[in-house]
Symmetry: C2
Subunit: 111 residues, 2 copies
DNA sequence: AGCCTACATGTAGACTGCCTACATGAGAAA
DNA sequence: TTTCTCATGTAGGCAGTCTACATGTAGGCT
């Protein structure tokens, strides 16, 4: 998986993983790996800054927790985050449709 | 169309437009606009450097022509470019599949 | 005790590609 | 002569992802 290809779609992935339950960063990385069949194995240097960015943007909120002696920062979707996720999903659909139509144009009978 | 979303997929679009006939930059911009229903309206500052990059990479070759007193640099696919296009197409398919599976996971019955 | 692995978070700086803004010039039409 | 379309190109900015590093706990193995 090329790094550039991901550009601009990571936010949608993160929000999507957090849709049904709050997660901490490390678990999010594992969830992405699981859901993608091992293809998406994103480094911490990508995930943690991205989560903070999404929190600054108001799409996520976080709380510290300690589980088994280890500190976790648990993120959850805000209302704005939920709306953003919906927007990202529809943006993804139209994005794939547009690129697809250029990459594999269905030849119209010419006028 | 968000600029970041395009990142890493532009090469595939350009090669695809040039697949069946050579084109010059300005015409490529118009072709992308047409094929995408007006959504992809890419600036010259994006297209021209990208075409030169693809030529440096060996995927395109270019020749100057003069049509109606105007100079055009016409690009065509090389053999390597054709192979690259095939690779980009299959990469696009797996890319959409992976992102899609994260964004809209089909819930497996849990074990 | 010492070592290694998994768990867990974070930052600094590099890389790179797409964008904005600008520059240039010919032909055609108003 | 002014403006629009056609046509190419560069310089510099921006921003997101990555590499590499830094820190620390828990638990298993020898």
């Amino acid at each position: 998986m090329n790094a550039d290809a991901l550009r601009g779609h990571l936010d949608a992935l993160l929000l999507s993983v957090l849709e049904h339950e709050p997660q901490h960063g490390y678990a999010i990385i594992e969830a992405l790996r699981d859901r993608s069949g091992g293809v998406l194995d994103l480094p911490t240097g990508t995930i943690y800054p991205a989560l903070r960015r999404l929190e600054r943007a108001g799409y996520l909120a976080s709380e510290w927790a300690t589980v088994g002696g280890r500190r976790r920062r648990t993120y959850r979707l805000t209302g704005a985050g939920r709306a953003e996720l919906a927007g990202e999903r529809s943006a993804w659909t139209s994005f794939t449709s547009v690129i697809g139509s250029v990459l594999n144009p269905s030849r119209e009978p010419s006028s």
